[in-house]
């Protein structure tokens, strides 16, 4: 589900079915690496849209968390843990961070939730057809990560 009023109406009626939050983490910097930063943002945007389409009924796609690339890792960690607390209290059992920014890898083990790091692929020079193909190949590899997570959780509660 998306961050839209009409989807929230559906969510409110089907709360018990939606237990996974996807939060894209998108870095911002306006220096020499401006192109690669924008590319990361666009790529993660596409991936999270596609994941949302795949798992619409169980996943809520949040607006991206954007931060300056210079922001310290400790500060990011504190913020993400605040998100974690808030969303856990609101009924999300699974929280998934989606990013192309490799910095997050350094604090992955300190995060309370799943970090999906996907290196961004330059898509802008590809034909529409290959673009779609490349993206759906990426998605195909990410699908089991989610379904396995759900399955594991269900096995534990049973």
């Amino acid at each position: 589900m998306k961050w839209q009023i009409k989807e929230i109406d559906i969510y409110l009626q089907a709360k018990e079915y939606v237990d996974t939050a996807i939060i894209p983490l998108i870095p911002i910097s306006w220096g020499n690496d401006i192109k690669s930063t924008v590319q990361m943002g666009e790529f993660i945007h596409l991936i999270s849209d596609e994941l949302e389409r795949q798992f619409k009924g169980r996943v809520f796609q949040f607006p991206p968390y954007t931060y300056l690339k210079t922001e310290k890792l400790e500060e990011r960690l504190i913020k993400m843990n605040e998100w974690h607390e808030h969303l856990k209290d609101s009924g999300f059992h699974h929280i998934i961070y989606l990013t192309s920014d490799v910095d997050w890898k350094q604090i992955e083990s300190d995060l309370n939730d799943t970090l999906l790091w996907v290196p961004s692929i330059p898509l802008e020079h590809l034909d529409q057809k290959y673009k779609v193909e490349t993206l759906s190949n990426q998605i195909k590899q990410m699908i089991p990560i989610l379904t396995n997570k759900w399955q594991k959780n269900e096995n534990e509660t049973n």
Partner: protein, 166 residues
Amino acid sequence: MSEKDHKVSRRQFLNYSLTGVGGFMAAGITLPLVRFALDPALKVGEETEMVAVAQVNELTNEPKRFDFKVNQVDAWYESEVSRSAWVYEEDGKIVALSPVCTHLGCTVDWDASGDHPNRFFCPCHYGAFEKDGTNVDRTPPTQPLFLYDQEVRNGTLYLGRPRPQV
């Protein structure tokens, strides 16, 4: 003849003609603006056009997934939306099903679960559908998968919008 004999004085005549001309000019500028602003909203219920999705000779008895893009116009906002279809051919008839689970809208996969062989399966809440799209009892969905409007021209399959099977 003096000024007083005229029904319309020079001053009045100038006033009338200037207001008239000015009015026309103002209308000439504002009316198109109003029209442009309202236009997208006036075009209601525009049909999604048919999109080429697959070659008929690619189709088999086994459902195959095809991805395509459609242009969607939502009032002022025009966007390209990804759609997919599960397509197969049976007894010379082409069936194109929408992969959108009728429960909460996840994307279903064909033959993906050991518990439901040869069925469409939704990974979100384990909904299942038969090959023709009928929802399987005691799984969350309450209605069959939607069926696309379809058309075959020169060996190419075109799909339109998905509609509920009733």
